[in-house]
Symmetry: C3
Subunit: 156 residues, 3 copies
């Protein structure tokens, strides 16, 4: 598995990417700087270009949140492909900031954010798909999305 | 417009910068590292060296929050100029983390954080003034300020 | 003092490091990239490999939170030493993101996060141990830990 390219892995895993989200404010979804790619905070964009909404711990549960984190990862992959031409340009994941829209008593942020981290490990492999991470609970998120994730990648 | 330097744009737009804020703890307002400038979390410092306070969604509304975000951007520009000598040293905005002090049901974080993003686009131009961004809701912020923003810039 | 190495300072200050925390999800505690070291969000791991828990402003007070931030700093030092072999590999602190698990009305985040910043200043010296920082209030944190901190360091 590890030797397949990210695009080949995506195909093998039959993963479908949602539309690359348009910016909802004055920012770029992605910025290249030498060998780094900075990705703006992304939400869980669905195949129908809707958003997965709901507060984890009250409106929705942790498994719903984890699925939202995975979908957010697919939206990030879509942004990467749309801007770079191919996911094969990515060498590795440097850093993920996983932000959960959850209740004050919620305690399982790592479980939720594993949704995106497991996806990146599948697509880029365990050696290059797993970087550093924080998984934390926000007071609120835009449009009541369940999860927002920003990331930094390294290019080949 | 795009060909004017940041300092010339500031003058043309008749923008006044507040005093560069002193650190309120054990940190530097700004750190240079090769061609990068890291800026600490800044609050909305006024011309009178006071702070714009109030929780968005209860104590204050989204337009007040957006004005606070713009003022935070002016405070960041003041820190940049005080430490670098001139805003003309800045090549472009890499990354902005916009943190809103708001109620759990608030949903318009991008609207609020556009306050700083529109300012940077005016001063540095659309090509170089717009980078990646996350705009998120915090549980609380220091001294009940309405907005806190940290950023990374690239130098010429 | 400033001329002692970080390891020598640690010894002189008689600081004991807790066990380097195992990842609680799909991430690396630390990632090296050229001259940079990225450190994942760490919690306040005790010498007994337990965690310091409690919400600042209700369950615990600001001094308890500050002690938790210092302990989180010790956990980060433990991760650095376990992965790099020695703290003497570190040239300086670039950036700290200090996240406090606190009530919506809490206003003294810088006071709490000074716990880690003062530790880094003691160990690495004031010139190299103090970088940029944001100190902010989260809606919640994993396992109800009082503080979570992520950081970027520069290597020699």
């Amino acid at each position: 598995m590890e030797t397949l390219s990210p695009e080949a892995k995506l195909k093998k895993l039959q993963l479908k990417l949602p539309p690359a989200p348009e910016p909802k404010g004055v920012y770029r979804p992605l910025l290249k700087d030498d060998k780094y790619v900075y990705v703006s905070g992304h939400g869980p964009v669905t195949m129908e270009n809707d958003l997965i909404r709901g507060r984890v711990g009250s409106e929705v549960d942790k498994d719903y949140g984890k699925a939202a984190a995975r979908q957010t990862g697919l939206a990030i992959l879509s942004t990467l492909r749309a801007n770079l031409g191919s996911l094969n340009k990515i060498k590795r994941v440097i850093k993920v900031l996983g932000m959960v829209n959850c209740t004050p008593d919620f305690e399982e942020h790592p479980y939720v954010i594993n949704g995106v981290s497991e996806l990146f490990a599948e697509v880029f492999g365990e050696t290059h798909g797993i970087g550093v991470r924080s998984a934390v609970g926000m007071g609120s998120l835009s449009e009541n999305i369940s999860v927002e994730i920003e990331a930094i990648f390294e290019l080949h």
